[in-house]
Every structure is written in C-alpha cells, then in structure tokens.
C-alpha cells in the first residue's frame, strides 16, 4: 500500500511539472525512479519509454509500466491516474480563465521564455535515455557504435523524410535483432 502512495506522490508531482509536454519530465523521472527509488533499472526505464513509442496515443502512457513493475496492476492504474489527472484538472480550470488574459503581452512572454527551458529539458531527456540506450560503458565499442549508429540513422531519416516515426523504431528493433544478437 505504501508503495502505491509513493508512486502517486512521485507521478502526481511529475504531472504538474510536465511543462511543454511529457518528454520534458523524462530526465527528472529517470533520476527519481531509477537512481533515487530504484523502482526500475536504467535499462528497464529506457526500454519502457521505447515501448511507448510503439503504442498509439500519447506516448507517455508507457510510464504506467513503471507502476506495473513496482506493484502490479494496482501500481499501473495508480501511475496512470496520478500522471494524467493533476495536469488535466489544472488545464480544466486554467483554460476557463485563460481567455480572460487574451491579448496580454505577458502571455507571449511566458511562451517565449519557457521555450528554451523546454528544449533544455528535452535535451536532458535525450541524455538520460542515451546514457544507457546509445552508449553503454559495460558493452564493447562495436556494440556501442551500432547503438549510436541506429540513433543517428533514425534522426537523419526523420529529418530528411516524412516517414512515420513508429516505423523507424520498429526498424531499430530489427537492426538490433540482426546485428546485436
């Protein structure tokens, strides 16, 4: 039971800190769930995030699997509610009063001021995932060259084409199967 309460506390706070979308809380989520609470290993965290890229809908629903690792289905439901409900409730009430601020120059200031913060957080998220997924010091250099190469190839392909990103994730899995095995 106390585990459920801990899960709710952690994910409800993350919900309200998710400025600029769910990926902005990735570095904090990784730090809290892996390094501080030891709920999942860094490899598990990265794999759970990656599974989220293969499911439709908001890709952060995968965080529910951290709850599943900690306390089964009850943990899964607890995380799902804790991660989505607080931000939705906030949005419900703030969006009611937001229209009243229409035309305020401060609205623009908030948006332009927050933009670089969100980018900094997203880069920190890349780093939090990449330090296990792209470069794993426990593995050989040729293994790491391949994982770095897969990530670089995905980034380049997505920049140059309009292919569905989920397909590049599947291709990454196929590359892992054939070349990393």
């Amino acid at each position: 039971m106390s585990k459920i309460v801990e899960l709710i506390n952690v994910f409800a706070l993350l919900s309200l800190l998710a400025v600029g979308g769910g990926t902005a809380v990735l570095p904090e989520m990784e730090h809290v769930t892996v390094e501080r609470r030891h709920w999942v290993t860094d490899t598990q965290f990265t794999e759970i995030y990656s599974l989220g890229q293969l499911a439709p809908g908001p890709n952060m629903t995968c965080v529910a699997l951290i709850g599943y690792e900690v306390s089964g289905l009850a943990g899964l439901l607890a995380v799902l509610v804790a991660f989505f409900f607080p931000a939705c409730l906030l949005c419900y009430f703030v969006s009611k009063v937001w229209d009243a601020a229409e035309g305020s120059p401060w609205r623009d200031a908030v948006q332009r001021g927050m933009a670089p913060i969100v980018i900094g957080l997203m880069l920190a998220g890349c780093y939090a995932l990449g330090k296990t997924a792209s470069y794993n010091p426990a593995k050989d250099w040729d293994f790491n060259l391949l994982t770095l190469g897969i990530g670089a190839a995905v980034a380049i392909i997505l920049t140059l084409t309009r292919i569905n990103p989920a397909l590049t994730i599947l291709a990454g899995g196929a590359a892992g199967f054939f070349f990393l095995g």
């Binding site: 919900s15 400025v19 979308g21 990926t23 904090e28 390094e35 598990q44 990265t46 794999e47 990656s50 599974l51 293969l54 499911a55 439709p56 809908g57 908001p58 890709n59 529910a64 690792e69 799902l80 989505f84 931000a87 939705c88 949005c91 969006s95 120059p105 401060w106 200031a109 908030v110 948006q111 933009a115 670089p116 913060i117 980018i119 900094g120 957080l121 997203m122 880069l123 920190a124 998220g125 780093y127 995932l129 997924a133 391949l146 994982t147 897969i150 990530g151 995905v154 980034a155 997505l158 990103p165 989920a166 994730i169 990454g172 899995g173 590359a175 892992g176 199967f177 990393l180 095995g181």
Partner: protein, 186 residues
C-alpha cells in the same frame, strides 16, 4: 470561443478522441487532432484550434490530453472534458499494458533483449530529432541558448530537482521576454 458550439453527445466525444488515440502512431498527435476536430467534425475553426493548442502547450501536461480537456469542456463542460480525455488515453493505455505484459514475460530472452536494445537506440534518435526540430530557433539565438544550456546542465548533469530549476529559471527566462513596447500607465 464565441462561436456557437454544436451539441455533441458524450459518446460521440469519447469515440472521436478514442479514434485519434488509437490511430496516432509515432507521435505527431497534433496533426491527427487538427484533422479530426477542424476538418472532419468542424467542432473548432482554425483560430479556435490554434488558441486551444497555445494553452495546451503552455500549461503542464501532455499537449494531447490538455487539448482533450479544453475541447471536451467547450463542447460539453466537465463531463465532456472527462469523456474526451478518457477517449484519448484509454486505447493507448490498454495497448501499452499489453506490450508491458509481453515485456515483463519476455525481456530476459536474449533475442528479445537485443530487439529492445535496438528499439531503445532508435527511440533516442527520434527524441533527439523532435527536440532539434522544435528547438532549432532556441539553439541558434544566444540569449535562448544560455537557458537551454543552464537547464540541461542543472537537470541533466547535476540532477537539481525540476521543481527547483523551474522556480529559479522560469521567472528569469520570462522576465527576459517581458513586454517592453507598451508603456505602463503612471
């Protein structure tokens, strides 16, 4: 929004958002939302959609669920917000739960482990590409780049709590962009 909102049933709201939730593979959910809400159902016009998106992006939480809350509320109040948001989340949550069961059962299989390694390596590339695509303007402007670097170092390297980082850095960043053209009345 002042335009007369059409009367939409809660079931319809749920099903439209559930359809978006189940068909939007690979991120980019905003494009799916626009197609369904503006082009197909005509629940919002282009300006209404952009206004809702602007709120969704500024407030904490996922853009997709915030959009569901806003659109659901405008059409049917609190019940509408709940129906739309559940529609958005549930299909993906069910599928990700299924993937999760398979993951827990199979992850120690060495063949599955290398597939997951490849998937994770690709996911980093995807996240990096998305970050660069939406952030290139901030990365080439020195006064923004400073904030990008400071936040990256504080949160990513030194693991300063996100709450503390936001409380300290966000007011500074917003102050940098404070409105300057208008004169305050004396």
């Amino acid at each position: 929004m002042s335009e007369a909102a059409p009367r939409v049933s809660l079931g319809k709201l749920f099903s439209v958002f559930a359809l978006i939730g189940v068909t939007s593979f690979g991120g980019g959910i905003v494009a799916y939302l626009r197609r369904a809400l503006v082009d197909k159902e005509k629940w919002l016009d282009e300006d209404g959609f952009m206004a809702a998106l602007e709120i969704s992006q500024t407030l904490p939480g996922l853009n997709s669920t915030n959009m569901s809350v806003i659109v659901g509320r405008r059409l049917r109040g609190a019940a509408g917000a709940l129906a739309a948001t559940l529609g958005m989340i549930l299909p993906g949550a069910v599928i990700v739960t299924g993937l999760g069961f398979a993951y827990v059962a199979l992850r120690h299989d060495p063949k599955v482990a290398v597939v997951l390694t490849g998937v994770a390596a690709a996911a980093v590339g995807l996240l990096l590409q998305v970050t660069l695509k939406i952030g290139w303007k901030q990365l080439i402007r020195p006064q923004d780049l400073i904030f990008v670097v400071v936040v990256f170092v504080l949160v990513g390297i030194f693991h300063v709590s996100l709450l503390v980082t936001l409380v300290v850095v966000a007011p500074l960043a917003i102050w940098m962009h404070r409105p300057r053209t208008e004169k305050e009345p004396a």
